[in-house]
């Protein structure tokens, strides 16, 4: 990569950090004892997790009849939550793979936690698939395994089966990508370890990393290959999730724009979640020099762009529903906006399309408080988007006598809480035991994007001046 950096570029590491400072700042929370704030936060998520686990256990014990589903709305919070979590799980790989291919240096401070978040979000999504199954102990029937049950075999025509393949592939590749990126940093912690236990565990997971030129060269190859594999995967996952709906013939579900529109929405909500988590992390772990205003602003721009793409898709659907002249389709959309679920529809519109437009103002993009608020608002909006698509399309059956509403029970809510508990428990464990920022990648890009780099700035400037002089002489001659 070119080391010439235009002077008008924003700085990505502030505070005049040296390479050693980076190691110190980021290893601090891994090596130190857990802070009080961490303990409290972790404790709360464990409590939520326990309550959620009880609700999920009860759901499994009693069957999914404990949910508020009825014969018209046969799919509601369960699939809404699933799609919501899968969507959130998009940002990690987008940041680590797509932004790597685009050589975006600002990704280095945020990719580690974004990837971790991705993995946890996909696990949460998977928990809803298991919750769905009714008989979760037979989950392996979703795989095309040789079996002794006669002709029992998965239906390859079903997008739900494509989902199983897409999401399990995505999870595996994301996990490998995340872990690969961790190895050099784990080795750093291993080399600094003070206790026997941490030397053993970090040593075990750093796979004997030596840091030789050859290992780095291999590391670079693997990263690029994984990025190449992950990029189509990012698109495929939500494409296939969208096909769960779009291949059907239900008005409001069957529409061709669904695949790219779902992908854009997923990136949108994923970035919002990364923003939420990082804004908290940067304060609690005092990482303001690494997750700078520039990073926050970049993410806000991505949120605005993807939110607007989603907005165009909403309007396209609405317009074509009218343009097509298909009565069912037109009714479905008018009903969404003005029917009994109008509040959900306008919640979605306000949170997803209107709220990110405030980021057109640079002041708002750079405001930490507003960025945090909007990032939460966006994820609320994205939950409502899925709710609107799913429930508002189903609740008006073809026969008016079958029209129904959906109201969640305690177990709908409890199972949703379970996923939050799971997500935050895992995230806090990650934040404590692993470096939340990719140390060596930050170091790799520091030249040119860090303030006061290198340390002997004055001496360097001298050299530079001489350089330019020589350059001018060369080009004149």
């Amino acid at each position: 990569m070119s080391h010439v950096v235009s002077p008008i570029r924003e700085k990505l590491v502030s505070g005049g950090k040296s390479y050693h400072d980076v190691t110190q700042d980021i290893c601090r929370q891994v090596e130190g004892a857990p802070t009080k704030e961490w303990k409290i936060a972790f404790g709360i998520s464990c409590v939520i997790f326990t309550y959620g686990a009880y609700c999920l256990g009860y759901t499994w014990w009693q069957g999914i009849g404990v949910w508020g589903l009825n014969k018209t709305v046969g799919w509601a919070w369960d699939i809404t939550n699933f799609v919501w979590w899968v969507g959130i799980g998009h940002a990690g790989t987008l940041i680590s793979a797509v932004l790597l291919l685009f050589r975006q240096k600002w990704r280095t401070s945020i990719n580690r936690s974004a990837e971790a978040m991705t993995i946890f979000a996909v696990l949460c999504a998977a928990s809803f698939i298991l919750a769905h199954m009714g008989r979760p102990w037979l989950f392996h029937w979703a795989l095309p395994l040789p079996n002794t049950f006669g002709s029992l075999w998965v239906n390859f025509n079903s997008p739900l089966v494509w989902d199983v393949f897409a999401i399990s592939t995505y999870l595996s590749v994301s996990l490998v990508f995340w872990y690969m990126g961790l190895v050099p940093d784990l080795a750093t912690i291993r080399d600094r370890a003070q206790t026997k236990a941490s030397k053993f565990w970090y040593g075990l997971f750093s796979l004997g990393w030596t840091g030789s030129a050859k290992t780095w060269a291999r590391y670079e190859y693997v990263s690029l290959i994984l990025a190449g594999i992950s990029t189509p995967l990012v698109l495929s996952v939500h494409t296939i999730v969208s096909m769960d709906f779009a291949t059907s013939v239900i008005p409001g579900w069957h529409t061709t724009i669904f695949p790219p529109y779902f992908v854009a929405g997923a990136i949108f909500s994923g970035f919002a979640m990364v923003q939420t988590l990082l804004l908290v992390t940067r304060v609690t772990f005092k990482l303001e020099d690494y997750i700078t205003i520039e990073h926050i602003e970049m993410m806000n721009i991505v949120i605005t762009v993807t939110g607007s793409i989603v907005g165009i898709a909403y309007l396209t659907e609405f317009f074509i529903a009218w343009y097509s002249g298909v009565e069912y389709e037109s009714y479905c959309f008018v009903n969404r906006a003005t029917g009994p679920y109008w509040w959900a529809y306008w919640m979605m519109m306000t949170c997803n399309v209107i709220s990110p437009q405030v980021f057109w103002f640079k002041k708002v993009r750079q405001s930490i408080l507003l960025s945090f608020v909007i990032s939460v608002v966006v994820n609320i909006g994205m939950w409502f988007e899925r709710f609107v698509i799913i429930v508002s399309s189903l609740h008006r059956d073809y026969l008016p006598s079958s029209w129904a509403m959906f109201s969640p029970t305690r177990y709908d809510i409890g199972d949703y809480l379970f996923s939050f508990g799971l997500f935050f428990t895992l995230f806090f464990l990650f934040a404590k035991f692993l470096p939340v920022i990719n140390m060596f990648e930050v170091k790799a890009v520091m030249k040119g994007v860090s303030t006061k780099y290198p340390k002997k700035q004055v001496a360097h400037k001298q050299i530079e001046k001489e350089d330019t002089k020589i350059g001018e002489e060369v080009s004149e001659s």
Partner: protein, 451 residues
Amino acid sequence: MAGHSHFSPANVEEYFEFTAEGRKKVLTALVIGIVVLGVGIYMLMNGNHEEAHAVAGHAAEHGGHAAEHGKEMLSGGAASHHETAWDPLNRLWANLWLNGVYFSGIAVIGMFFVSIQYLSKAGWSSVVKRIPEAFPKFLLFTAPLLIGLFIFKGDVIFHWMHEGVTVKGTEHYDKIIAGKSGYLNFTFFLVRMVLIFAAWIGLWFMMRKKSIEEDLIGGTENFTSMVKLGTGFIVAMGISSSLSAWDWVMSIDTHWFSTMFGWYMFSSWHVTGLAVITLTVLLLQDKGYMQYVNANHLHDLGKFMFAFSIFWTYVWFAQFLLIYYANFSEETIYFLERWEGHNKIYKATEILNVFFNFFFPFLVMMSRDAKRTPIFLKICCFFVIVGHYLDFYQMIMPGTVGDHGGYGLVEFGTIIVFASAFIYVVSHELTKASLIAKNHPFLEEALHHDI
């Protein structure tokens, strides 16, 4: 801040010279195109159907049976009403429309590319940005052409402009089309069309002015205003890309609809624009210009072509799959018409569409070395440019000329005319500014680009 530069960007300036010899070549091509087109029209007018079709080799399949068969497989295009009084010149108007839309796309993607580079603050592309920046000039020619065609020959292209289709009680009344007349009517359509072109040309004009001014005065002020203009254009394009796709192309098959269509057509334009940018850079390098563009820049252009070929395929396939899977007759008719309808004259195009636009670019551009080697890039550009002409051909022709389509002298003549006009206009526009934006604040990054 810049590391060890031995290069002072301010010393660089390079002007493209559109030589007399070059002009002569392009104009000769233009004349040849006009002659071919003239002969093609003459043959059409004299009912020499078979010869006009000869290239596609479908002459043998003509007959009364085929015409009836064709009628069943229509998605509401203008062609469905032409069986009684077919004017051979219609094929000329359809061809002009096709090329007008296709080349407008290439031209506007030039502006889109530059805008994206500014919005994302990309450094590497600052060495090539003057090339796409010249493209939108061609809009000054396609805009009046398309607007004129719409005003005077709109009923040839658009079924919804036929007389009486929206008037209840008349012979040709069509309930579905009547339902769309709030959007598809002469005035509103024209207003949209004019606004779209005005936005594209207006924003380009402002951008171009700022860009050339930057060469003279330097500083970063122009850069900042170009970021703003680029952002404005992206917003305008976000809306106008879908509108233009619905209006100019989707409404040809008036009954049919697809929410994906806006992005589908845009992705087709986009990858074609990238291929034309790449090809222009390579051809200029062959002439000895732009030697500062190295394998790394080409690599990036190649990656773009590769990635957006796949993106086009993704959009194309998703649209096809969802329609195929749901199997609603009012949606599947679109593909059926192209596959089975009109004596199957469009079937070969459908197959080539996927081969030219997916398999070939995918396989040719797969390796790193290929993306850094001019000849491979040129091969890929060829497939993409021809392939997406075919893509637009199959979007526009079945609905406008139906059974009377084919690949004849009219088609080849029109392409030659448009291509040479495009080359002439862009070459002329390239002479108006240095090929390198010497005061671009990221230029030094680009000159040291190394991946």
